[in-house]
């Protein structure tokens, strides 16, 4: 059990605590005994309107991801409490985890201009949020812990996406840990033309894939949700990943053939890859020798598309990539995850584009 501190106890500046706090091992913990050392912002409610789309999200803290080497890693995420309106979200989760939990968390898919509500329910003994990354709502719907507020109980975020493109959503409470634990999912905004067009008056596509590429430091995945917020050193400054994954599937082997990640397409078809740098470390993605066209990034069309054979990205960047192979074959896509200081490759996740 982690060290706990009441709010009237010494401030960070007043203490030189060198506790060996492990962060509690109290995954899911208890709010009354939580390690927060400062009061949590009281949530304010933004004016709510009649929504076109509602997503209901809950919390799971007991997911397990099966790795190719036989090990299991604990995963946290958002459960799908159902939705009203919005697009099909069934194909964008990666690994099924049993009990209705998926990793990444179930995707949201809406149309530009719709009024959307995300209704989050958090068990009363912990805090989480949903930040719709790249979506820029009124600040009370921004979902940032301690700024726009941490949630326990129920809270409704409201937003009306103005730009089609690729986004994602993630927890923004003790973010360094909660996002690493897997609390994220894809968020797609379609243009008025609907799925099949990248953005308003943008290029069309026949096949679509979401590659959320992430690294996992399994040593972090034994921490409790409040880890580090006591002020003890729990190692959250130092990420040393040992797994490299694509959309919730181990990139060592499984992602090479995982349905929905490995792409099967016909020559002449156009593929839209929605690439999300879901980890914290820099990545370099190569496309097996294929030249690709970047048409948008971070939910905004580029003034001019750019033809490349690799892309370097940093944490949370998204790139919308059109690929139209001219030759049949199986192209191995490799994503190197690099050390943020040396640039050395720490690991590589792989998948394939199979063109028949």
């Amino acid at each position: 059990m982690g060290r706990r501190r009441r709010q009237e106890e010494p401030t960070p500046e007043e203490t030189t605590t060198t506790t060996s706090d492990s962060g509690g091992h109290d995954g899911g913990g208890m709010m009354g005994n939580g390690c927060y050392i400062y009061p949590v912002t009281a949530l304010e409610t933004a004016p709510l309107n009649n929504p076109d789309v509602i997503y209901n999200r809950g919390i799971y803290m007991n997911g397990v991801m099966n790795m190719d080497d036989g090990r299991n890693v604990t995963i946290w995420g958002f459960t799908d409490g159902g939705h009203q309106g919005g697009g099909d979200t069934g194909s964008m989760g990666g690994g099924g985890m049993g009990g209705g939990s998926v990793f990444p968390s179930p995707a949201m898919r809406v149309t530009q201009g719709q009024i959307v509500q995300t209704r989050l329910n958090v068990p009363m003994h912990m805090y989480h949020t949903i930040h719709h990354h790249g979506i820029e709502p009124e600040y009370r719907s921004d979902g940032v812990g301690h700024l726009s507020g941490d949630v326990n109980g129920n809270y409704t975020y409201q937003w009306k996406p103005a730009h089609a493109g690729t986004y994602f959503y993630h927890c923004h409470t003790n973010t360094v840990l909660h996002a690493e634990m897997g609390m994220y999912g894809a968020l797609i905004v379609d243009p008025p033309e609907g799925p099949g067009t990248a953005f308003e008056n943008g290029p069309s596509y026949d096949v679509e894939a979401v590659w959320a590429v992430d690294e996992i430091d399994s040593s972090w995945h034994n921490l409790g949700w409040t880890a580090g917020t006591c002020g003890g050193d729990v190692g959250l400054h130092d990420l040393n990943p040992d797994y490299f994954i694509i959309t919730g599937v181990d990139g060592a082997q499984s992602a090479l053939t995982a349905p929905g990640i490995a792409v099967d397409m016909n020559r002449g078809q156009r593929l839209l890859v929605r690439y999300i740098c879901a980890g914290y470390l820099p990545q370099e993605i190569r496309f097996g020798g294929l030249n690709v066209d970047i048409v948008a990034s971070d939910g905004r069309p580029l003034p001019n598309s750019v033809r490349v054979d690799k892309i370097n990205a940093v944490s949370a960047e998204r790139y919308d990539i059109i690929i139209q192979p001219s030759s049949r074959g199986s192209y191995t896509v490799e994503i190197d995850i690099k050390d943020w200081i040396t640039g050395n490759v720490l690991g590589t996740a792989r998948t394939r584009i199979n063109v028949s």
Partner: protein
Amino acid sequence: MNRRNFLKFSSAGIASAMLGTTGLISWVPRAHAATIRKTYYITEGFITQPDGVDVYFRGFSSSSNSLNAPGEHIIAQEGDTIDITIVNTLGSSHSFVVDGMVDSGRISGGQTRRLIFEARNPGTHLYYDGRNAPYNRVTGLHGGLAVMPDGRDDQLFAGSRRFEKQYFWIFNDCDPAWNNAVRNGQTPSNNFTPRYFTLNGLSGRPPGAPGSGVGTIDSMHDPRTALHGHLGERTLVRCLNAGMAQHSVHTHGNHMEWLTSNGQPRPDVWLKDIIPLDGDAGSMDFIYPFEPAPDAWPPMTNATLQQAKNQGRHSAYPMHLHDEMTQTAGGGLYMFGALTDIFFEPN
């Protein structure tokens, strides 16, 4: 060396020495070139980090009894003469370098050196100690130099997109083991593993935390760092990275207009909510447009901002690095790292 011989600074003391001189930049263009004079004192001391740990730093300081890390910024106009005096109060040798403009060479301990050079290459530059690279720079001996294009007060370089006001954001990563080695005249022997992450020398204090809202401690409220803008008040942010790690600069509320990387104009201006900032003295410039948050519903207007203010609420969004290890201090303390706030103000 006895620690008692060193100056010890709270971050408050440091910031007050710099207030109004780093970060938010004032500038009025001139028809004729001028001479910009500055004196920097190379000093040393300890800075208390958010977890209470004192860490050794050096800086290009504004006086012999202060410690500025980063140093006060310099702003000049293309063609100006920059007249810098460096007073090395320490026993160790240092230098003053701006790539492409000036390199003092060795300034031995106790020496004073005057440097006169022309402001060239409109844009954002790092001044730094080039000796014992990169250790002296990472230990605090760095600052920002802005060179404005001739006769302009609203462009980063001739032909760039226009802005109304400008800030410096100077990021740094700190591995205390490296700083301690520099203090002892040694070459660090460990791989760089940063434990503290700063923006203009400060780190965040989330609401409710001790020091929150105190601009001399809290990077989220430091007036040199936190952006304040009315709707449409386009704001240039000059980003420099004195540290070693590559970062991911993320703004909420608006996308950024990405103008440059490492001093080079981008071929096209992309609208991004994430922009890479390279490690080891990388740089990047962007404009934060202060447009109404595009996905707000009901829409953001001056009236809604005024209403929020009348109700005692801030319409504020964070900027934080998305390589989230940077949001910690001493291995924990989420939100005590390199971040700030962006305040949308009513007219």
